[in-house]
């Protein structure tokens, strides 16, 4: 009995130790947390690094500049760093949970290459994140731009694994994915149409942007709903100490940016706006054309966008962000025809654009649990109006005809994202999101009235596709686990449910990334991720058109799915980062147009015009990048292959044989370089080369004899037919281009300064293919952007 009691006692003691050990250990751990900001502007720093030098443990700030690091009690030596900023070091005895808000000073000496602190960003050698690139905004601002208009998407197109569409297009084709497979987030809110001017410019105004991160694989579980990439664009919060701004005038557009404190150190704002003025410049041309005529005609095109953001800090634990974006493209024409006894007025308008808004609340529970709760609204609309009025003897309209076309998609969503740092080895994130989609694929309105001949007739008709309402919910959990100093694992799971019509689609998306650290500067990473996507964009061309139609998955069209595996080597040599990655991606339920199908002029019955099939892509990407110093830039090279296979019952394309995707491009090379000669002058250059895109071109003409065409076997005359052997059988000529940009800076005694930018796009006037078509027995190529010099003047105050 005594022995038994002894056994029970030992067991109880063991159990107590097992239960209490974590608590005791937990008692030994304390957390350092806080925000890291730019001392000159108060802007939060994203992906800035904190390293505890004695233990080697570290973390990076999140999208709101917040960090949290759990450490053992005792002496610590902390180093806060961010590329381009002076590092801050501090050492002390850490005894309790501590909040340290750090404002890092910009380091001008770093720009001259004096010293560089390697970033511990999750995308670098030491992090688990691969297939991800952070582009410093100041690097984007230096990239020579088309018509002098700096563009985030154009800069992203220069990265390995990312391909552009046709000349000038802002479409992104990431690792074999289509342009609709990218989730473009502006302050966390999806934007459906990121293009202005048919895709030649994107909606992202570089003046309003703080940070850009591209994920093309190894997706963390917190991201979902697109197959191929996440482009996370963060807007500036605004300077919390003093007012600053800039105004810029270029050949194409004018823009301004204003930021500053509403309540110093607490409430800030940032507003940017831009507008093109080709339509205004064109007015004298119309006046000249109309000079000798009674008739009047005029028209134009312009786009504008407005970004605004308001940030309020209630306390060190609570922050509120309100973001807003609105942008529109408008094409218009007005014609007045005046005769002696009658006149006609015609108006045409074509409008498309986005409205995006979000309210976010950051809250810190204790020192280890950070919560971001967001309410989002995003809308993309497309509208076409035509109005014709006929007057007789200056009376009321004798007859009038108007036609309207409306297409719209809007989402309302809510999400909560948690970041929890339970121990020095675990960074846990979890959260949930809910989205309500409303699709209005196309609604047509027709109004007709006729009051001629003493009669009166009025007709109003509305017809088109019915509205579609779908819902999407997702929950995720991920843990960035430092198993050993040399082994770090990011594991996660995302569960999503998509509900449409009578169908519910459930998706389980595992994510895994791991990093093996061979030395301080050399690591290997591997990842696997699965993604699903429930919205599709239907488009017939390689350029982005406002008529591109966003449609949901339905009872017949299943959500798209993708699996991607990647592995890579990462190496740091001083300020230069090298990476070599290989990937394989399998995709399912992709949509392609059936042979002969087109959406031009009709969006109804779209489900019958597409087929659903599979695709796969694989490739190797090489990137060498230097982010700091006088000389910055990168060289990116991609070798890739992208194929499609549509061989399922009722969904056969190309007779069930594989064919290359339109944007299959074997070689893709980008070189981006920028050199700061002095504080007054810097020079940048970009060179791109890419294998030509694919297209379908009938290379032979054959004589189809009479006998067995569909009309039940009756013989007709021989029929010469252009014979297309397979879809996308022809490769357009290769694409190459050199751009250069010169920036002349001058600083005034008042502290204000100005920059004059001179850019030359396509320096050696290469005729790159935009479209290749047949004219009789010849081939013709249309190129749209020859050598294009541009000039802009920006004044900073």
């Amino acid at each position: 009995m005594k022995g038994r009691l002894k056994d029970i006692g030992i067991a109880a003691l063991t159990a107590a130790i097992l239960f209490l050990a974590p608590a005791v250990a937990s008692a030994q751990r304390v957390t350092v947390s806080g925000y890291m900001t730019d001392a000159s502007s108060g802007e939060s720093l994203i992906s800035a690094a904190l390293l505890e030098q004695l233990s080697g443990k570290g973390t990076v700030t999140n999208n709101y500049g917040f960090y949290t690091l759990t450490l053992n009690k005792g002496e610590v030596s902390l180093e806060y760093s961010y590329t381009g900023f002076e590092p801050f070091r501090t050492g002390f005895s850490l005894e309790r949970d501590t909040v340290i808000n750090i404002a890092l000073k910009p380091a001008p000496e770093m720009l001259s290459g004096a010293s560089v602190t390697a970033s511990r960003s999750e995308t670098g050698v030491r992090g688990t994140q691969m297939s991800t690139v952070e582009i410093p905004v100041r690097q984007i601002l230096r990239v020579p731009a088309l018509a002098g208009e700096v563009d985030v998407i154009k800069a992203i197109q220069l990265l390995p694994g990312v391909q552009s569409g046709t000349e000038g297009s802002a479409g992104l084709y990431v690792r074999g994915g289509g342009p609709d497979e990218n989730l473009l987030l502006l302050d966390g809110v999806p934007i459906y149409n990121v293009n202005h001017m048919m895709g030649f410019f994107s909606v992202f105004n570089a003046d309003a942007i703080k940070n850009v991160t591209l994920y093309k694989g190894s997706f963390p579980a917190r991201f979902g709903s697109r197959l191929s990439s996440i482009v996370d664009v963060r807007m500036k919060d605004g300077n919390d100490q003093e007012f600053h701004g800039s105004a810029s005038v270029g050949l194409l557009s004018a823009k301004f940016n204003l930021e500053g404190p509403i309540v110093k150190g607490r409430t800030t704002f940032n507003v940017s706006a831009r507008r093109t003025y080709y339509d205004i410049l064109a007015q004298p041309v119309f006046m000249y054309i109309n000079r000798d005529s009674q008739d009047r005609g005029m028209g134009g095109y312009y786009f504008y966008d407005i970004n605004a953001k308001l940030t309020h800090r209630f306390s060190n634990r609570d922050k509120l962000y309100v973001s807003y974006y609105m942008g529109d493209d408008q094409v218009y024409a007005r014609v007045k025809m005046n005769a002696e006894r009658e006149k006609d007025n015609m108006k045409l308008g074509w409008y498309w654009g986005n409205i995006v808004g979000s309210v976010r609340w950051n809250h810190l529970f204790g020192s280890r649990l950070f919560v971001n709760t967001t309410l989002n609204y995003t809308q993309y609309r497309h509208k076409l109006d035509a109005d014709v009025k006929h007057y007789e003897l200056q009376n009321d309209p004798a007859s009038a005809f108007s036609l309207g076309y409306n297409s719209l998609i809007n989402d309302i969503s809510a999400s909560s994202d948690f970041e929890f740092n339970p121990s020095p080895r675990h960074d846990v994130r979890f959260g949930a999101t809910f989205i309500r989609h409303t699709f209005k694929p196309s609604v047509n309105t027709v109004h007709y009235e006729d009051r001629t001949g003493g009669m009166e007739m009025v007709q109003d008709t509305t017809f088109g596709d019915r509205n579609l309402y779908t819902a999407e919910g997702a929950a995720y959990v991920e843990d960035n686990w430092t198993a050993f100093e040399w082994l770090k694992i990011n594991g996660g799971l995302r569960i999503s449910l998509y509900s449409t019509g009578k169908s519910n689609y459930f998706s389980l998306e595992p994510r895994l990334g791991l990093r093996l650290l061979f030395s301080e500067h050399f690591s290997m990473k591997a990842s696997y991720s699965e993604m699903s996507q429930s919205v599709h964009m239907l488009s017939n061309s390689n350029i982005s058109m406002p008529t591109d139609l966003w449609v949901p998955s339905t009872d017949r069209i299943r959500p798209m799915r993708a699996r991607q595996a990647a592995a890579g080597l990462f190496y740091e040599l001083g300020p230069v980062d090298f990476s070599l990655e290989g990937y394989w991606k399998g995709m399912d339920n992709l949509l392609e147009y059936r042979d002969g199908a087109t959406f031009l002029g009709s969006s109804s019955g779209w489900e019958d015009k597409v087929a659903s099939g599979r695709g796969w892509a694989y490739g190797i990407e090489f990137l060498v990048q230097k982010k700091s110093g006088r000389f910055t830039g990168w060289v990116g090279y991609t070798w890739s292959r992208t194929m499609r296979l549509f061989d399922r019952e009722g969904n056969v394309i190309n007779f069930g044989r594989p064919f290359p995707a339109k944007y299959d491009r074997r070689h893709d090379l980008s070189i981006v370089a920028s050199y700061e000669f002095s504080k007054k002058f810097d020079l940048s250059a970009t060179f791109v080369y890419g294998t030509g895109l694919c297209g379908s071109l009938a290379l032979q003409t054959i004589s189809v004899p009479p006998g067995y065409n569909f009309d039940a076997g009756s013989f007709t005359n021989p029929y010469p037919v252009d014979y297309l052997e397979s879809r996308n059988n022809y490769r357009l000529p290769s694409y190459q281009r050199l751009d250069i940009g010169f920036n002349f800076h001058r600083e005034f005694r008042s502290g204000r300064h100005r920059t004059i930018n001179l850019s030359v796009y396509n320096v050696y006037n290469r005729n790159n293919p935009f479209l290749v078509y047949r004219v009789g027995s010849s081939l013709k190529q249309l190129s749209i952007f020859p050598i294009m010099p541009s000039l802009s003047y920006t004044f900073y105050f």
Partner: protein, 308 residues
Amino acid sequence: MKKIINVLAFLIAVLIAASCEKYIEFSGEESEPRLTVSALAKAGEPFRAYVSSSLFFLDSDGIEAFVKDLDVSRGVVQVTVNGESGPVAMRCMPEKVDGALLYGCDYVPRPGDRIVLEAEFPGFDPVRAETRVPYPPRFEITSLKPGGADEDMEMTIRLSDDGSYEKYYFLAPKRVMPSPWTEEPAEVFCRFNSDDIVFRNVAMGVFEIYGFLFGDDDLVSCYFSDRLIRGQEHSMKLVFPGVRLAEGDRFSVELRTVTESLYWFDTSFAQMRSDFNIFAEGVTLYSNVTGGYGVLCASASARIDVEL
């Protein structure tokens, strides 16, 4: 200085003006002309084949160009049936056909025959194609509602699919009417529609073309595969909008079993002919001829005539 600026401005203007559109050399792998051989083997009818050459698309020059490089005296076209007793030479027929040479022989295809067609002409790669003549379908009309004042004509057909291999069918219901011009009655295609599962497989081009011609999605004839009904006895209901049969009216239903090659060739050809839009995806015409172009295909027909 002003002169230099003017010269530079002029040069840039010339560059801009000259660089937008230009003729280009074809930069792809230039495909050589190939033999195009096409033949439809119909059970019970003499076998015929059409031979021509393809033309590089930038060299197309009139319908005669399709045969001008074919040396008939040295060309060989032959057919082998079931691998028996060697190939049978086909002869160039005297009938003039624009854009092709017509070859014929005494062979009359029978259901189950395996046909190999080969052709060889000087200056061209030899070509070869193979097909098997299908058996006629087994079907019956199980019900017929002739239609009335407020009712459309309805017909139910029961198809017995033996499931032995993947089959393709062609359906063409016709109304048989007296002809004002000949003593023989005229057969007129009859529009129909159906919600039956087999018609989900119909290639889009066929719907499109009839939709375009008749302003709706009704069919007048169509192809379908047996993938969803393989090995089953399947009944399908057809509705004939606007058709009302009266006493003495005649109606016929023709159902053919066709080869996969004919199914794909015909549907892709129909799509190609309906391709009116320059923004539409290009249409790929089916071919099963190795070394060249064209199609070798076969069909076997069964027909039921109804007289009220």
